[in-house]
Every structure is written in structure tokens, then in C-alpha cells.
Subunit: 550 residues, 2 copies
């Protein structure tokens, strides 16, 4: 076969025909094309795209004047408020890297993250100031702390802190944004909940953020002028890249500090919300609140549901109040959702249970994710589409992280064989849709938050009474799952269930604490490995108390 | 400012996290996610995405077996039939470069194109076989000619030719597609109508084709399952990249050999068409045919209109039959449309003339085109948004060609100062929307086809009677514009208007021939340059016959 070569010099990349992909472009375009449309609303506070872009430029300029340079990390410990949204543009526009921290984490984990990513600045909501202060206490090079006082939510400015508003006012909104020379440049580092107690820093690129945002527009058919309600925390995978895609579509963000069912319902109705995302618990709240008030939304509302498959009752209940649920699946490593249960028209011929069964699967790759399959991790061969052969879900393509920060070994392992290994076990059904069978990483998903069972076990092991511990998920109507612990106790050191729960409370974020701690002789394999599947089965069949008694 | 460096090795591009952008991915995904949805329909012929993908693989394999290698050019002289659509995937899947040729061109221009791009294979519709045979006659290295016989349209297979169906059957649909190692690899070369008589080969990259397709989805809000009617010739900028975006959205192509108003109307109704594109003339046809039959479409139909601003009467007329028009602007060099007159909600408060005035502008950049502005080409400064200062429309970003094939000089000129110079003159209005004032390149747009006035003038000059010639656009109700020529004749060689038109007919594609050829003393500047503006004004004010008489 011939290999005809083309004139590489004449046809080269140049500024006229090649622009590095960066979501910063979306903000520039929004300010130009949708200047008078609302970018965000939060209580009485409103910003048009023109105003929002100016704020972001001033914010970016303030960061640069404050000594932030290319590649520096700016961390945020914030609720879903306007400054948190703005940071998604302002930080990259300063050439810096975003690090949004889960506000529910304990002090020690926040400290670890700040130290690991070498944050230069930490912007913190006054509500979380104690956590921030605790976290930076022991750091060798603590970040400069800037405090945002959310007056809309009734907070007042703490004493003796640097104020965010004053800080932004040091910037100049006439300064142009810094742009990456190369689209393969970090834009964010998001920490996983971790599987070994130590979270990993997942690094996103400008290219990946750009393509992931566009991918969601295509896969979810997000139209221009969408009105998006922030039920999903922005600290989760940069809000699944939604801040960026909303700029591209001139959409409006409805900010939300806390998911209160009544307030959420008021906002959906009052702000004419068209899109939102959340874990099953969020959708359940909305359904219940709408039912209680007899509200049916007068326009189509589309919602993504992640963290657990939507049960049939939820699909029906949401549809009755006017919400169309789409089930998605993804991880921090895939910029949030990168797999979608794409609905097929012939499913409508199925009965309700059949429809829920189809819609509850993890589905197919997002529009711009190159590949998503289920493979035998040893042979790296795709499993047959028989619905029975279990393999590992794997991704590859542009919606996959650059790698783990300062952990080349874990990165190499995660990318072995040219695919990102999720650790989740699944089958491929006849239509090539994936269905998760089990999680190999022992993750418990509670109210949309990932909990590492290993992390909780480590804390239990740190109690002198505990000689062995196993933490598994217990189904919970409200939270989806909650952690429950089984422990073997040393005879010489007695400890009650309440003692052990209190021990965890002092050392873990509240949502990670086991709901129950049950003393039990742990079932083990012949090689001594704890058989969590036995415990899970017992928990699922509500046999906890029988175990306890045993 | 610090320049913190990140671990470049650990965070490097690898197969797991980086996939070169290529529209080939869209076909793979369609076959996987939308296997049973219709990919195309043409008369009784239908193909699902599964079938279409298999056909494209067989076609690509046949090309490879036929000696086509990476970077080779496969040319097509085809109507909007299923094989023409398939070629948009099959040719790149063979590692080759698509060259779709305008079927209305004359033999000499087709010959020039085939020779210039060194086409190895020419796939030709039986209808255009004479043109193809004429074109390859004098070539030193003529391409292998393969003939598609469109039986759906009643053609029968010509004698002594290689048949397209037989050719494709030599392929193996189990062979995997070739993929570019680098997204900056040519996927297509499309020839402009040229401004000097010699068309230029505009080279598209896989990256540009991918991003342009996605850009149209975002800017035009193209949903999944769109039904697209092929009123736009596929040989225009690869059908504005629609074959690629339709795969990504699992849309259906309704093929169309010829724009016959009655047939078009039948297809829109019968196939439930939701999207189509065309020059004003196409929309006018549809409106008139719908009115005549009293048809109003029972679902929203969205249409792009290019080539000329939509007049108010057309906007109103289309809306009355159920079609929403969006005005776009672009060039071969920008992968088709890259500027869109994005509608603003407050325009609805204007009267009809006001709305048409707003919608008739060239608007703003497409979603994923980095920049589109109007600048003084000397100073490269943006003109003020005063609606009065004229500058040149310029583009930059990923929806801009790699360059002109074998013409580094023209490429450098076109990309001077980091922007692509369109040659079209415009102003920026208060809202930063562009409005074209004049075309500096002397292009006449007739029925959506660009005609170079210089090319027509060259032909007129080749007649012994003509001593000077100037060709300008004359407004035409049906075609938008038609060329009209003014000539100075040599006294010793008399020639009638009919003689000169016949001279053109023998040497130019029919649509390029001047409608009128008027003997006249051409107005000139002091330096001897013909004042085309004077001729244009005369033509616009319908003073042709007065001129003629004079």
C-alpha cells in the first residue's frame, strides 16, 4: 500500500486553524453571544453572562495579582454558590488548577489533600472555616485562606479573615484570560474517596474538560438556554463538567446551598428548571415533595441519576410529576458520567418492570467517550454479550483522566492494557449494554457520596477492642446505602456498639460512620480472606439482628 | 509568577486517555448504540446503522484491496445517493482522503481537480459518466473509474465499466477501519469555485471534521434521531459535515438525487423530516409546493439557509408552513457554516421587518469555532461595533481548513496575521453580529453555487471579439443571483449576444454561463480598473436595457 505524504509544512497547525481546546472559550462565547441571558441566580442575586464573565475575569486577575502562576493549585471548600461556579472559569483563566474539596470530609483528609496537591490558595465558605483552619494547622506550607461569606444564606463575616469579595476587587476585569498553549494541560485535580483510605488526585486536562462538557450536551440533548438546578455538589467531578457546558449553551444555573426538598421544589417551579442531576435520594425527595403539594411540572424536566440504578417505583413516580430520568454511570477518573443508559424506542412496548430493568443498566459509552466495554482483566478480551459472563468495566478515550497526581504507579496500573480499569464488575447483555454485578472496590454509595469500606475498617481497627473488621453496604430507603460494620472484639478489651460508633464519629466524616457495628465471628475463606459477600447477603436479607444474636 | 510543572511523564497521553478525534468513531458508536435505527432511506432502499456500518467496512476494505493506501485520494462525482453517504466513512476508514466533486462542473475543471489532487480512484454516478470520461482523457495518470448505477432512479448499467456494487463486494466487512495516528491528518479535499478560474483544494483534517460536526449539533440543537433530508449537495463541504453528525446522533438520512419541489414535499411529509439545509431557492420551492397543496407540517421542521440572507417574505412563508429558518454563513475553508445568526428572544418583540432584518445577518461564531470577527485587514484591528465601519470577515479556530493543497503561498496569505481572511466585507452591529456589505472576491451565488466572475470573464476574453469583459451578479427571483456580463467588442470582429452566450456554454458549466451579455463601454477608474460597482448598481436598479441601448 502506498503511503502518500501530504505537505506537512504548508498544511501545519497555526493560530488561524488550530485552537487548543479549553472550556475558557465557552465563557468568552457566552459573554459575546448570550450577554443578556441569565448565567446564574441565587436568592435575589442574579448575573447575566456578560456580568458573570466580567466577574470571572476580575477573579482570575486577582488570583494572578495574588501570586498564583501557571500550574499552581487553587483549592475550594465551598457549597454550590456563585463564587464556586465562577471559580470553574476564573482559576483556569489564571493559568491555575482547580481543586474542589468535598465539604463533608473530615479535617485530616482535607489536610492531606491540601498538602498533596500543594494548594497555594484555599477559598473557603464561612460555614466550613473550622474545617479549613483545622486542616491547615499542621501543614508545612499552608495555603493562603480566603473566606467567602454567604450573606444570601444569612452568614456573617467571621473576624480576622481575608474576605473573598475584597480579594476579587483587587483584580482588573480588563485583563485577558491566560490560555493554555497545549490542550493537554491540567485544569483540575479532584480527589477520589479512595479505596485504601488515602484519596488519589485525579488530574483533568483542558481538552478532556472541553470534550466531556460537549459530550454531555450531545448525549443528554441539552438545548440552548437550559435552566440547571444545582442539586449535584460542584465538588463532585467539577459538577460533572456542567459549569462549562452551561456556558456553551447559554444556560442558567440555579444555585443551591443545601438540598432541602421544599426549597428544591420551589426553585424547580419558580425558576422554570429544565435540568438537574443527583443520586436516587435527591429524586426521591423531589417526587415526595411534589406529590405532597400535588405539583406536576408544566414543562419537560430532564434529570440524570447516578450512584445507583433507579428502581421502577422511582421511574414511575418521577414520570408522574413530569421528570424524565436517565441513568448514567462514571467515576471521578472519567470526568463524572461517561456511560449512559441510552433509551431505545422499543422499550416502550415493555411493561413497567421491564422498562425499569432496561433503564437500570449502566448502558453504553457517552457520545464522545471513545470506548466503554466489559473485559476479562487478565486476557483483556471483551466478555461475550450473554448477560452472564462477569468482567470489569473499562473505559478509554478523551473522557478519561490524565492520571493520578504524584502516583505514576497507580496510573500505570489503572491504564494497564490501554484501558482505564474501573474496578466495577459487570456483564454485557445481548444489546451490548453493561449491567453492574458487583463492585470490586468495596465502595458504599450513600446519598450520592462514595464511602470506602476500607477507610472505615481502618478506623475501626484503630480501636484497641477491634481485632477484625468488615464494612459493607446496607440498603437504606432514604440514602440508598449506609455503611454497616461487623467486628471481632478482643476478649480483654470490651467495647459496646455505641463506643465504636463514637470512635468513628471522632475520626470520620459523619456520612462515613457505620450505622450499626455488630460483633460477629467474621466468615473467612480458607486463605483467611473475609467473605464480605456472606455479610452482604445477610444484610440484604435483613438478617442483621439474627447475626447479632448469633 | 511561579511556573509549577506537573509530572509530564506520569500524566502523559496514552491509548487509555487520549483518542485522536476522527468522525470514524461516530459510525462505530452508531452501529453499537443505534444498530436498529434507520441510517438512510432512498426510495425502497433502507439501511439500519448496523447495515450501514457493515457496508462502509466492506467498502473501505475493497478500497484497500484495490490498492488505496494512506493519504491516497478517492474522488467521487456523485448525486446524494447511499454510496455517496457511505463514502464519507469508507474512504477515511481506508486511510484515504475524500474528494467530492461538484457534478455541475465542466469537463476541464473536473480534469484539473483530478490531476491536482492525484486521485487514484474515481467513483462516478452513471449519469455523469460522460463528464468523467472526458475529464480523464488527457490525464497522464488517470484514476481507476468505478461506476455506480442508480437503479432506484431508473438508470441502467453502462457497458464496459467497472461496477461499484461488484467492487464493494471484493471487500471484507470483518476488517477493522484504519484510524489516523494523528488527528491532524487530512480526511477530505474540497475544491473551491476559485477566484481566478483555478479552484483551490481545501484540505480538511479528521480533527476539524469531528469538531465541526459536533459544533453543528450544539449550535443548531440537533437532537438524537433527527431525520435529515438531503436537499444540500453532499459535494458542498462534505454536506456541511452532516453525514458525520447524523451518525453521532443516530439520525436518518433521506437521500435525494434531485431537488424536485413535489418530491421534496412528499419526502418531508412521508419520512417525517425534521431537518434540512439549502440556499434560498430550495426553501422557496418547499414553501410554494406546501402552499399549493395546503400542507402545514405537523411537527417542527428546522432548516439552515445559506448563500444569501433570507428575505422577510421567506421567513414568514416558511414559518406559515411549519419551518423555522436559521441563517448561517461560511465557506469551503470553514468546513461549511461556521457563523450562525443565533436567534435572541427579545427579537420576537420586533415587527416582521425588524425580525427579518436581525435574522438576515451573518451573526456570530459557531459553538466550537474559536473566533469570528470583522477586522481592518491592514491593521488587523477589530472594527467598532457601529454598524458602519466596513472590515473583512475573519475566522480562526478548529473549524478552519488545514490549508490549500500544493499552494503554501495562498495558504500563508489566507492565514496572514493568525486569522483566515474570507474576502467578504462586513460591519459589526451594536450586538457584535456581523452583516455582510459586499463581497471583495467577486463571487456570484446562484442557486447555492458559487460562481467566480473572474472565471466567466476569462472565458469571454477567450472569444476573439471580446476586448474587455466584466461579469457581475444580477438579482434573480428563482436563483438568488445570476451572472450577467458586460463586454467591449473589437470593431473588426462582430459577435452577437447569442454568439457569446453559446461560446460560454461550450466552455463552462451551465449555471456559470451569463444570462445576458451586454456590449457596453466599461466604466473605469483613472488607473484603468473596471468599476464593477457602477455595473452592479445599474443591474440592481434594473437599468440593464438602458445601458444596452446606450
Amino acid at each position: 500500500m502506498s503511503r502518500r505524504t501530504w505537505d506537512a509544512a504548508g498544511l501545519r497547525r497555526r493560530p488561524a486553524n488550530f485552537a487548543p481546546l479549553t472550556p475558557i472559550s465557552f465563557l468568552d462565547r457566552a459573554a459575546h453571544v448570550f450577554p443578556d441571558r441569565m448565567a446564574l441566580v441565587y436568592g435575589d442575586h442574579k448575573e447575566t453572562w456578560r456580568e458573570h464573565a466580567l466577574f470571572c475575569r476580575r477573579f482570575a486577575s486577582a488570583l494572578r495579582h495574588g501570586g498564583v502562576g501557571r500550574g499552581d493549585v487553587v483549592a475550594l471548600l465551598m457549597a454550590n454558590t456563585p463564587p464556586m461556579l465562577a471559580a470553574h472559569f476564573a482559576v483556569p483563566m489564571a493559568g491555575a488548577v482547580l481543586n474542589t474539596i468535598n465539604t463533608r470530609l473530615d479535617v485530616a483528609t482535607v489536610a492531606y489533600i491540601l498538602e498533596h496537591c500543594e494548594a497555594r490558595i484555599l477559598i473557603v465558605d464561612a460555614e466550613f472555616l473550622d474545617t479549613a483552619r483545622g486542616a491547615i494547622k499542621g501543614l508545612a506550607a499552608p495555603p493562603r485562606v480566603i473566606v467567602h461569606t454567604d450573606r444570601t444564606a444569612g452568614f456573617s463575616r467571621p473576624d480576622g479573615v481575608e474576605d473573598f469579595g475584597d480579594f476579587v476587587d483587587t483584580g482588573d476585569d480588563a485583563e485577558l484570560a491566560d490560555r493554555p498553549d497545549d490542550e493537554w494541560t491540567p485544569i483540575a485535580v479532584n480527589y477520589t474517596s479512595g479505596t485504601t483510605g488515602r484519596p488519589k488526585g485525579v488530574v483533568y486536562s483542558h481538552r478532556g474538560a472541553y470534550l466531556s462538557a460537549v459530550s454531555t450536551i450531545v448525549s443528554w440533548d441539552v438545548p440552548k438556554g437550559a435552566v440547571y438546578l444545582w442539586t449535584l455538589p460542584l465538588f463532585h467531578c467539577n459538577g460533572w463538567c456542567m459549569p462549562w457546558l452551561l456556558a456553551l449553551q447559554g444556560g442558567k444555573s440555579v444555585c443551591l446551598r443545601r438540598v432541602n426538598p421544599e426549597a428544591v421544589l420551589d426553585l424547580i417551579v419558580g425558576e422554570k428548571v429544565t435540568h438537574y442531576c443527583g443520586a436516587p435520594i435527591v429524586h426521591g425527595f423531589i417526587r415526595d415533595a411534589a406529590r405532597k403539594r400535588g405539583v406536576v411540572f408544566d414543562r419537560p424536566v430532564a434529570a440524570l441519576i447516578g450512584g445507583a440504578p433507579p428502581p421502577a417505583s422511582l421511574l414511575v413516580g418521577m414520570s408522574a410529576v413530569g421528570v424524565t430520568l436517565t441513568h448514567i454511570y462514571g467515576l471521578t477518573e472519567t470526568y463524572g458520567p461517561a456511560s449512559i443508559c441510552e433509551s431505545q424506542s422499543h422499550w416502550s412496548e415493555l411493561d413497567l418492570a421491564g422498562q425499569a430493568d432496561r433503564q437500570g443498566r449502566q448502558g453504553v459509552a457517552y457520545a464522545l467517550q471513545e470506548g466503554r466495554t466489559v473485559m476479562d482483566p487478565q486476557s483483556m478480551q471483551r466478555v461475550p454479550t450473554d448477560g452472564g459472563t462477569v468482567g470489569e468495566i473499562m473505559f478509554r478515550g478523551n473522557q478519561t483522566m490524565m492520571g493520578y497526581l504524584k502516583d505514576a504507579e497507580a496510573t500505570d496500573r489503572a491504564f494497564e492494557g490501554g484501558w482505564f480499569h474501573t474496578g466495577d464488575l459487570a456483564v454485557l447483555e445481548a444489546d451490548s449494554y453493561a449491567r453492574i454485578k458487583d463492585r470490586s472496590k468495596d465502595i458504599i454509595i450513600s446519598g450520592g457520596e462514595n464511602i470506602s469500606s476500607v477507610e472505615v475498617e481502618d478506623i475501626l481497627y484503630s480501636h484497641p477492642a477491634v481485632s477484625a473488621a468488615a464494612v459493607v453496604a446496607m440498603p437504606d430507603e432514604k440514602w440508598g446505602e449506609v455503611p454497616v460494620a461487623f467486628v471481632e472484639l478482643r476478649e480483654e478489651t470490651p467495647a459496646s456498639e455505641a463506643d465504636l460508633i463514637a470512635h468513628c464519629r471522632g475520626r470520620l466524616a459523619g456520612f462515613k460512620c457505620p450505622r450499626r457495628v455488630i460483633a460477629y465471628v467474621l466468615p473467612k475463606t480458607s486463605t483467611g480472606k473475609i467473605q464480605k459477600n456472606v455479610l452482604r447477603d445477610a444484610v440484604r436479607s435483613n438478617a442483621i439482628d439474627a447475626l447479632h444474636a448469633g
